[in-house]
């Protein structure tokens, strides 16, 4: 029987498994929840009853031959990919599988510096060497943008031996590069195009969305179904274009993937894919209209700038994601992270992140107009009650890195821990970043500059959650010994 997008094979198999009332002498030991009453009371019986192990009728994620295979085929179909892998260890694992599938130790890979830490992590593991393309920077907002086509061309010309190029589609703020053109020139140079679409699931389903990776012939894409697609946290998908070996990528995935994949995550991917395929157009039309309303109302408040498609410039802002509410807050004298904290602590509103100059609210499948109204009202109140003189505020999110050696080399070299200020001019052996958004201020192998130190200290004062360093308080930094 040919399956259609109305089917959800994993979900259907789990329902049948539950109805069959199978006696289990396998793991997990809670045995449909009976062994852990408090957890069952908290999460619900129906949830616990399908938290099961791989078995014949439910297939096996490491080597799918039945329902998982079917579900992956439907996923590939829905996204216009030649193959799709269900991922249960976050989009980070999908990004790492992409990189490790095309790069070996010593290979070059071209990427914008404002990638998520998961990309650079993959380089530490596999030993590939990054060639950074500096993203454009919007001076007014201080945010990193997409890569211009010219800068990609230049990087390719200077590094004809590079194996692949990574593109964010979109960046965390919602900025898209000219992906079609980048795919064209990369393929001409014999390089693979890997796309981080952690924030781009909806590009595949909504109308008037930026171009998706698969639609322009990219080779691989990592899609966070859980971010805007409605599946459970940590569930994700890796999509393949037509010239990538499914079998080899599966081997790479299986190097690090759990052998006990959670069926809660797998079924959530299956059901969300079905929902997006059947209702995605309508859902994202609603989301886009909510966001459009939110943006226009926030811009009426004065002092706050909710930026969107007016920034499109045909180059490093080739397109902009219309489902994001990104707001520049510096002009009311508050750092994005301060607005983020006030929203949570005073107004019970949790947004995605706040950094030095901006906040980002993610609107998705689950939002209603009344909630958008609360966000607008809270922002208008924050402006009325908390705004300050913006003089003396740091302006830039993005610092151009000075790369001294590869991330792997730096991470595994002899190193020592020194107080922040003494690290100036040395080579950093670890990450420092605000999380979220998780874009490194410093990555292993980069020179510790005055700007980087200034940025770290400022972010700390403003209350950013600094992560990545071995010292949990980021008062000391690991540097390479001379």
């Amino acid at each position: 029987m040919r399956l259609s997008q109305e089917n959800a094979p994993i979900y259907e198999a789990l329902r049948e498994y539950r109805e069959n009332r199978i006696v289990s002498f396998d793991v997990p030991g809670h045995k449909q929840g009976k062994g852990n009453p408090e957890l069952t009371e908290f999460l619900g019986k129906s949830c616990m009853s399908v938290d099961v192990n791989s078995m014949k009728p439910l297939d096996n994620l490491c080597h799918p031959v039945s329902v998982i295979k079917q579900a992956e085929e439907l996923m590939a179909d829905a996204f216009g990919a030649s193959h799709a892998f269900f991922m249960v260890n976050g989009t980070s694992s999908a990004v790492q599988a992409m990189i490790m599938s095309v790069c070996k130790r010593g290979d070059k890979i071209i990427m914008p510096r404002n990638v998520h830490r998961s990309s650079i992590n993959a380089l530490i593991v596999c030993g590939a060497v990054p060639v950074y393309v500096n993203p454009g920077v919007n001076k007014q907002l201080g945010i990193p943008l997409g890569m211009s086509v010219d800068s990609v061309k230049e990087a390719i010309q200077k590094n004809p031996d590079a194996k692949a190029i990574i593109v964010n589609n979109p960046t965390y703020y919602g900025v898209c590069s000219n992906l079609r053109e980048i795919v064209k020139i990369a393929h001409k140079a014999g390089m693979k195009v890997l796309v981080d679409e952690a924030h781009g699931t909806h590009f595949y389903f909504g109308d008037y969305m930026p171009l998706s990776a698969m639609s322009v012939g990219a080779d691989m894409s990592s899609v966070s179904m859980h971010k805007t697609g409605g599946s459970l946290t940590q569930s994700s998908a890796l999509l393949l274009g037509k010239n990538v070996s499914e079998g080899y990528v599966r081997q790479i995935i299986n190097l690090t993937q759990t052998t006990s994949a959670s069926y809660l995550l797998l079924s959530s991917l299956d059901i969300s894919r079905k929902n997006l395929a059947l209702n995605g157009k309508e859902i994202f039309q609603k989301v886009t209209s909510l966001v459009g309303y939110g943006i226009s109302e926030i811009n009426k408040i004065g002092g706050l700038y909710a930026f969107s498609r007016e920034l499109i410039n045909g180059d490093d802002i080739f397109d902009f994601d219309p489902t994001k509410i990104s707001v520049h807050t510096r002009d009311i004298g508050l750092a994005g992270i301060e607005v983020y904290d006030i929203l949570r602590d005073k107004y019970n509103i949790q947004i995605e992140f706040g950094d030095i100059g901006n906040i980002l609210a993610i609107v998705s499948v689950g939002d209603r107009i009344l909630n958008i109204e609360r966000l607008i009202s809270a922002l208008s109140e924050i402006k009325r009650r908390y705004s300050k003189d913006p003089a003396g505020m740091l302006e830039h999110e993005y610092i151009e890195p000075v790369v001294v050696c590869s991330p792997q080399e730096a991470f595994y070299s002899d190193k020592k821990q020194v107080p922040l200020d003494l690290a100036l001019g040395k080579v950093c052996a670890e990450f420092v970043m605000c999380y979220p958004p998780g874009i490194p201020i410093l990555a292993p192998g980069e020179l510790v500059t005055k700007e980087a130190l200034e940025h770290i200290k400022y972010a700390k004062v403003k209350g950013c959650n600094l992560t990545g360093a071995e010292d949990m308080n980021t008062e000391k930094l690991n540097i390479l010994t001379d």
């Binding site: 019970n348 009344l370 109204e373 609360r374 009202s377 109140e381």
Partner: protein, 281 residues
């Protein structure tokens, strides 16, 4: 036939019904009107009794006459929620009020009450009354320094009423009031835990904004526990010190629950209530 409300997970309250007069699902909530032998017509929103013909006078008199007697010069009033019209009916008894803006999110509530609860909704057609079908939070956001009085006659803080129990809402109300402005809100109940939690949270949020803030009580038989609270927040007037009893009594407004002696008395709260409010401060 009985109507049963689950006032808490563990407490039920039942009224015998003659018949169901109206039932519909709006974009926001389920709306039902029952006729009952004991309480007359009963309006129910999302399985919560909003009013009964027999005891609605208590709620509506207490939410309006307390602020009106405190400052009889009030001329411009904003009422949020209140789709049944009871609060507006009490306000229209003051000839001195010039304008009443009423903002109700659910047009179907207003229409149903106009048709089936005429004794409550009768004054919605008063020429001073302007009805806006809108989210109250959105409405106050765009108003500055305008009203003498805002009355928040909302449902409980779950469902469409949720935004009317938020810090951003109270802050925007403060902004929408003029320098003599008063804010009165339905303030939930101190008795059952879920309602008490909403009450404490509202108290904590309002106290941030207003220099004068007092809570008062009334006895409303069909609300959970029967013991109900209102909040009186004000930029200038104190509800007892600034009360001119003679002035209000000379207006000759005939009431069934409110009087100026009760006005002073209702601010004296039981100890357990005071304790709960202090926890929030």
């Amino acid at each position: 036939m009985w109507y049963t409300e689950e006032q808490t997970q563990n407490v039920r309250f039942s009224i015998r019904c003659n018949k169901q007069k109206y039932s519909a699902q709006s974009d926001f909530q389920r709306i039902e009107i029952f006729n009952t032998p004991e309480f007359g017509d009963v309006l129910v929103l999302d399985d919560r009794i909003m009013l009964t013909q027999k005891d609605e006078f208590i709620y509506h008199e207490m939410i309006t006459h307390i602020p009106m007697a405190t400052n009889p010069d009030i001329k411009n009033v904003l009422v949020i929620g209140a789709g049944d019209g009871g609060t507006v009916r009490e306000l229209t008894r003051y000839k001195t009020i010039e304008n009443i803006d009423m903002v109700e999110i659910d047009r179907m509530v207003v229409d149903a009450c106009k048709e089936f609860l005429p004794t409550v909704s009768s004054k919605l057609s008063d020429p001073r009354v302007h009805i806006y079908i809108d989210d109250g939070l959105r409405f106050v956001r765009n108003v500055d320094n305008k009203y003498d009085l805002i009355i928040v006659d909302s449902t409980d803080p779950v469902g469409p009423g949720e935004g009317l129990f938020t810090t951003e809402f109270y802050g925007n109300c403060y902004k929408a009031l003029n320098g003599c402005g008063i804010l009165v809100n339905q303030h939930e109940s101190p008795f059952y835990r879920v309602y008490a939690k909403a009450m404490k949270q509202a108290h904590k949020k309002i106290i941030e904004f207003f220099p004068v803030y007092k809570v008062y009580q009334a006895h409303i038989p069909t609300y959970p526990s029967g013991h109900w609270l209102f909040g009186f927040a004000s930029k200038k007037y104190h509800p007892i010190k600034d009360l001119d009893e003679g002035k209000w009594n000379r207006l000759g407004i005939d009431t069934n629950y409110y009087n100026t002696r009760l006005h002073k008395g209702c601010f004296y709260l039981p100890t357990y209530v005071t304790k709960q409010l202090m926890e929030g401060e």
